[in-house]
Subunit: 207 residues, 4 copies
DNA sequence: TATGAATGAGCGTTCATTCAT
DNA sequence: TATGAATGAACGCTCATTCAT
């Protein structure tokens, strides 16, 4: 075939990733076979190895780049014109997107494998992202609700919200017929508003 | 060899399950081998098949019965003398117990497998437990905070809290150095109290 | 099958080694397949792995223990009642034994692999054996021919004889119709005797 | 592209052979890959097949033409002004040349393959060369040492010396730290001289 | 002619499962 | 009943070879 344009190669790479993501999501990384992925991608098993050195790498490759925009926004909220409420909603709206469940499946599976195999790099990556996002959450909470947070353990609260996010993803995966993540978020936001607004009112009362 | 007491057989079955749970949690179901489990249980690989027809069945058998007491309490809060705050704390305290992470690993993995393989029975089971617990949460919230919840989407809030619980488990697994689940819980409870207490105060103010 | 006698296991191990030696000799280690060896041994491929952890180990296992008696004699000539001429003949007689060529093939192949892959342990082993045998050769030469060796580089001569041994093995392998190793040996021994006997005679002449 | 000069094609063929010889010597024929050879030769894998129909053929092509001068001299000693001692030394000096070990490796490997696969042509070739060289050795021995060889099995001795040559090559490959081939040769030549010189003296004595 | 992406058969190895003992 | 040796299908991966460009 010789000298195929880079665009062709990139497209092929993409199609392999897509096929892999589909098969991995369907069967799990362990149960999926390279032959299946190849078939799904319409190529031969051997060809995959020109693009990815191993099944493991292919699996890793499947995980990158979902909901990048939202992730970036949380990590650098000061660079984005947004507020906590809006960004939260956008984030949870992402979970309603078709394919979000497949992403969750894959993400959770990879996370479990990483922990199990003591894949330091991967765990580290997760930890770093966690930290950054939690920092972003805290930043937005402080900016949006300011002094009213006084007395609250802000870091713990931010992490609790992050936990809630992951739990909601998991919940949606396991029980699609349950209350939607967005509605859960609304409930929690209502709670927060009640807490913060109330504070203010009680403050004003005290004055 | 002939007749062996039923108690003996049950004990053997139990010891296989324990061994399997340990190995599965360590390596994941896919990576664990029957030989390992047999060794851990102190029997031969062949013997396992007298008690479980396949590895998959063995894996299914492993998932039952961790933190039963707490689960039961949430599902039937009216039969237990407890309140939301106390039961929450007990629940999260469980997560600090050694072995809790292994349980989380196993639970998540099995959950993923169940969804993946469309294991209706298993998904159903998860869904049922979810419903019952959420109902229990809602029950306790209402009993403990009563009228102050007015205007809140109680069911959604209860589910959000359940999501938070699972997210916190996952978080702890992935990033043990992050804020402990219990501290996250404290933060969230502080928020709730602020919201509800404030409500009362603002109510009283308004009156 | 359970509890099979150790003798059975040993026999099985032996039969695998025999099958492997045969196939390896026929096709070379690289070209031989585990499936072939299994078939030759009358078992399944998987069964081999209960006895040898890898093809490589199996190949190593094939190399041990050929002509052990002779090797031992050269390495410890002082413990054996023998002389250079007798032991040499016995050594070369071994090469006429059926199967000797297959051994040579295997030995040379393994040696090449060892050098190529920088298998330090294996190369070391060869080097050690070389040293010991050369020492033995030198020992016997000195004991049998004594003072008449004066002026000769004994170590170099011993090594030359060892080289000759290996070359003769190789020669026989490559050109079976050429002069037999034993006849080559005779020629060389005649040369040695001429040299040493002559020395004596010339000595006596000088006196 | 059309017509390329024959010289060009030959040069290309040569460069492929060189590359192949290098890679084969480094890794062995089995472990070497066509891709590696292509890279070493600075062309594409596909191009090799314009010059050699298969890897095996390429390997065969690699064996020709090392130390041609010395080989020719042994095969036609009457056409060269030399004597046994000098030619032997030149031959063994070749073994000290850098790259000699790689040649030995390749030669031995190919020889083993030839025997294994019953490659009649190749074995034949080796046999023919053997015969010719042995004849040359015998010729030189007779010319240089003449009558003093009486009673010796000249053909066997010549073959023994050829065996020694190959053994020394092998030895040097396997145990570079052992006594150098040239020193082994010296020892053997000293032995021969002792034998032949002695003979003369004893002859003269007898007369 | 040369390229190099693609093929696909084939390998070593694993391990759930079976079954003779 | 328990054993554990044996099975054999299946997998990830390699690489000599082909052929569209």
């Amino acid at each position: 075939m010789a000298k195929v344009s880079q665009a062709h190669l990139d497209a092929r790479r993409r199609s392999i990733l897509d096929a892999a993501a589909k098969v991995f999501a369907e069967k799990g990384v362990a149960a999926a076979t390279m032959a299946e992925i190849a078939q799904e991608a319409g190529i031969s098993p051997g060809a995959i190895y020109r693009y990815f050195p191993s099944k493991e790498d292919l699996a890793r490759g499947c995980m990158q780049g979902s909901a990048e925009a939202v992730k970036a926004a949380w990590q650098h909220p000061e660079q984005v014109e947004t507020d906590f409420r809006t960004l939260s909603r956008a984030t949870f709206a992402e979970l309603e997107r078709p394919g979000a469940d497949a992403d969750t499946r894959l993400l959770l599976e990879r996370a479990l494998v990483a922990v199990r195999d003591d894949d330091a790099a991967m765990v580290e990556e997760f930890g770093t992202e966690l930290q950054r996002i939690v920092r972003g959450v805290a930043f937005l909470l402080r900016r949006d609700f300011g002094a009213r947070l006084e007395g609250l353990d802000l870091e713990a609260l931010a992490q609790a919200l992050y936990s809630f996010y992951w739990g909601a993803r998991f919940m949606r995966l396991m029980a699609p017929e349950a209350v939607a993540p967005t509605r859960q978020l609304e409930a929690l936001q209502a709670l927060m508003e009640a807490a913060f607004t109330a504070d203010r009112e009680s403050d004003s009362t005290e004055r």
